[in-house]
Structure formats: C-alpha cells, structure tokens
Amino acid sequence: MIELKNLTKKFGDFYAVDHLNLKVETGEFLGLLGANGAGKTTTISMICTVLLPTEGEVIIDGEKLDRRASDVKRKLSVITQEYSMRQDMTLEEVMEYQGRLYHMKKKDIKEKTEELFAFADLSEHRRKTVRHLSGGMKRKLMVCRALLTDPEIMLLDEPTAGMDAIARRQMWSLLRRLNERNITIILTTHYIEEAQALCDRIALIDKGKLDIVGPPQELIDGLGKYAVDLIEEEDVVSHYFNDRDQAIEYLTGMDGKTVMRETSLEDVFIERIGKRISG
C-alpha cells in the first residue's frame, strides 16, 4: 500500500503540492487527474525521490520512502513524462544498465530483454542508439525498461503522450494485464477517457490539493448519470440528472439545439476543475 501523508512541495512561495493525503491499496489502479500545473508530476517525482517533500511523507508497505530506502525503491518502477534515459546508449545498453541498477543477474537481464523487445517489436532496433529512435519507440523502450525489473508498483507519468491511437490501445491492454498481476499502478494522464477506461479510482487534483477521490462511476453518479447539453452560439451548457425521465423531461422543455447523453468522467473534470480555472 502507498500512503501519501500531508505530502507538500513548495517552490518558493508556490505550493505545487499542498498537504496531499491519499492511500493507494496494493493492486489498485489509481488515476491522478488535474489541469496543467496541478501537481501531478511533482507528486510522482516525490514518490520517485527525485524531489524531496517540503513537508509530509510517502509510506510504502509501512516503510517511509526516502533516498536511502533501497528495499522500498526495489519495488518501484517509473515511466516519466520525458524520455529519461541516456541518449547515446543502445537499446540493449539501456536495458542492461537498468538491470544492473536493480542488481539483476546478467543472464536474467538478457532473457527478459529478449522477451520484452519481442513483445514491444523492438528486437530489430536493439543496436540502435536511443537518439535515433522515434518518439513512439522511445516510449516503448521506457515501458520495456520499467517492466524489466518486475516492479510491484508502477508510476506512470503520461505514458501514452505522443502515441498514436493504435499504440495507445496496445498500451492500455498492457497496463490492464499488468494490473491483473496485482501490480499497483499510479497513472497521470491528460486523456481522461484513458483514466476512465483503466482506473479503479480517480483522484482529481486542483492547485496541488486533492479535490475528490473515488471510482470513476461514483464520481460520474455524483454529478448525474445523464447530461443534457444546451448548445448555444459560443458555448455549451450542460445539466446533469440521475433520473433518465427527468433528463428527458428537461430536454423536451428546452428550446434550441440540445443533446442528451451519458455523463462521462470528462464532465466531472470540467465541472469540478475546468470551471474553477475559467472562473
């Protein structure tokens, strides 16, 4: 289990993460959603120990996480937003370096690398240097690298950024399979449908603070299962209803162009976060 207790990060006077309290159960798939600059990446960076918290702590399976906690860090693997790897190494060298950093045997590194490269379709590129790969291939390599060490916890900071729709769906399917193996996953993403499709629970973060947390359907139900959009000249105004008949009654009573649909997680995001940003 991962516990974030009063986790805070200040840059000068600015609170990037503001007393965040959150528990992620073992095997859970949690999505961290928020607008740009909400504090998602800062939170992940603190769990990676790249950033040290100004206040608060991260507890993993009862042990406090810090830069000295090698046993706890052994459980973690991260896919960062940026291509955080040596650009002058070959794909094979990237994997070997990772395996060595996690104290794996050379034979195991080799076997697992073969398997992961075959799975990710990277085998024929194994001797290329990272800087010669396309963005999508670098992402795949990051996934292979993260999986090499059999992590118990995966931190994924926008893992599908820059991927095409097909590659993204492949990644979703992979993440589902990993989660079925009881790997705890914390995912940040800007694709809200991705979070809705994959996550057991969603934590919405706004200006570094936890706004709401719960299963996607529960958050949607909290707003209303049905949405009626009134399409005006420059804007769309949505009204939410839990009762279908009420929604239909509202819809029929409206003049102008209207659409009735099921509420999505994106509606929750817009209502709770978007409206605060746009004032």
């Binding site: 840059f11 960076s45 990676c48 120990t49 790249v50 950033l51 040290l52 100004t54 830069r67 000295r68 090698s70 046993d71 860090k73 052994r74 973690l76 693997s77 991260v78 960062t80 940026e82 291509y83 955080s84 790897m85 040596r86 650009q87 002058d88 190494m89 060298e93 070997e96 370096y97 990772q98 060595r100 950093l101 996690y102 104290h103 690298r145």
Partner: protein, 243 residues
C-alpha cells in the same frame, strides 16, 4: 555492486567514444609540448624546460580528464537527458553511484595522463614515473571528479558545465604549477595557489620525476579536498531538494 554498474556505464561510454576521448586528451597537451617545450627553447633551473613541463602536463591531464568525464556527463544526465531520475528511483545505494563516478572519473584522468606519457615517451628525458606518481595521479583524478560531481549538482542548465570549466579548470591549468612554478607568484597569492589541489599534485609528480622526495603535506592536502568534496557530493545526492 552499484560501483561496478557505474564503471560498466563509463566503460561502455569509453568504448563508444574511444577515438573522440583519446583525441581530446591528446590535442591540448600536445600543443603545449610543441609550443612551450619545443617552440620556445628555454631552460628552467638549469635544465630543459620540457623536464619541468611534462610532469605538470601529466597532472593537468588527470585534472582535465577526470573533471570533463564527470561534470559534463552528470550535468547532461541530470538536466538534459533526465537519466539521473532512473538512478534515483533504483535500489542502487546513491553513495555507491557517487563513488562509482569518482573512481570512473579518476580512471579517465589516468588514461589522459598515460597518453601524455606515451606521447612524450620518444623524447629522451631522465624523468621517472613510478607507482607513487600513478597513485598521486589517481588521487588527483578523484579530487577533480568530486569537484565535477559537486558542480554538476549545482548546475542550473547543461551549458553550465563548460562555464564552470572556464572559471575553475582553465585558471588552474595555467596557474597551478603546470607551466610556471608557484614559487614565482606574488606573496599571498602564492600561498593560495600553492594550496590548490593541482599545484600539490604537479609538485609531487614533478618531485618524483626528478628523483626528489615529495613534501609530506601534499597527499594529506589532496585527501582533505577529496573528503570535503565527497561529503558535499553525498550531501547533494541525499539531501538536495530538487535533483
């Protein structure tokens, strides 16, 4: 284990960039030998200036080789490639990572020094380089590796590393017993320059090369620098808020 991992990483880098690294280690000292050693035919303390210059260049090469291998590499990894993030999150103890960088950097410095010795080999000189000379070269390389690590953690952008080199390494190259003895510097400044690690390393390597005894305080001074900058490096890697 972590030390071996870093040394492996440095070795892959060395193999890949062998020609670039070798050429870079050769050019500057070779120019100094050509210009100051052969071009300006002067004598120093009654012997060819080359005898004074070569030990200084050997010490300087260990400094340049070690500092360059660590400072530039670590700055790029930390600020540009973000590859250091992967080390931070891994279970490899960070002290082992730092120690690996120090040893790896120092070995690169030793390589640069060995190139000078090979290049100057055909010149018949009475200079002697023995085990103690190599120990001092290694120690000097370790000192400048730790300085490289410290500065790479202080760098705000990856272009800072060459700047640090201009502020620290280039002045030391010229002032610290490489081309001229620190004895010729004005009082006050002489003591300051004389206490810098390169001055000590140059003086000791030169003394050995001339068959003279080294000063008793040279090695303790280098060790003191090593302890101080290692401590700062460890402090940064464990305590720096934003790596």
């Amino acid at each position: 284990m972590g030390i071996i991992t870093v040394l492996w990483e440095k070795w892959t880098e060395f193999k890949r960039d062998f020609y670039k690294i070798t050429l870079a280690a050769m050019i500057t000292p070779l120019l100094y030998i050509m210009v100051f050693g052969f071009g300006i035919q002067i004598t120093s303390h009654g012997e060819p200036y080359l005898y004074f210059l070569i030990p200084g260049l050997v010490a300087m090469s260990t400094m340049n080789g070690s500092f360059g291998a660590v400072a530039q590499n670590m700055s790029v990894q930390r600020l540009y490639e973000k590859a250091l993030d992967q080390v931070m999150v891994s279970p490899t103890p960070l002290w082992q990572f730092i120690l690996g960088q120090i040893i790896g950097g120092s070995l690169r410095g030793m390589y640069a020094a060995v190139i000078i010795l090979i290049l100057t080999g055909p010149i018949r000189t009475p200079l002697v380089f023995n085990g103690l000379s190599f120990l001092i070269m290694f120690l000097n390389g370790m000192v400048f590796s730790t300085i490289g690590i410290t500065l790479s953690f202080m760098a705000k952008s990856h272009t800072d590393a060459p700047r640090f080199s201009s502020y620290i390494i280039v002045p030391m190259s010229f002032l610290c017993n490489t081309f001229v003895s620190t004895d010729q510097m004005p009082g006050g400044f002489r003591q300051f320059i004389g206490a810098l690690p390169l001055s000590q390393a140059s003086a000791m390597i030169r003394s050995i090369s001339h068959g003279e005894a080294i000063t008793w305080y040279g090695i303790p001074i280098l060790l003191a620098y090593l302890v101080v900058f290692s401590a700062i490096s460890f402090l940064f890697v464990y305590k720096k808020n934003n790596l």
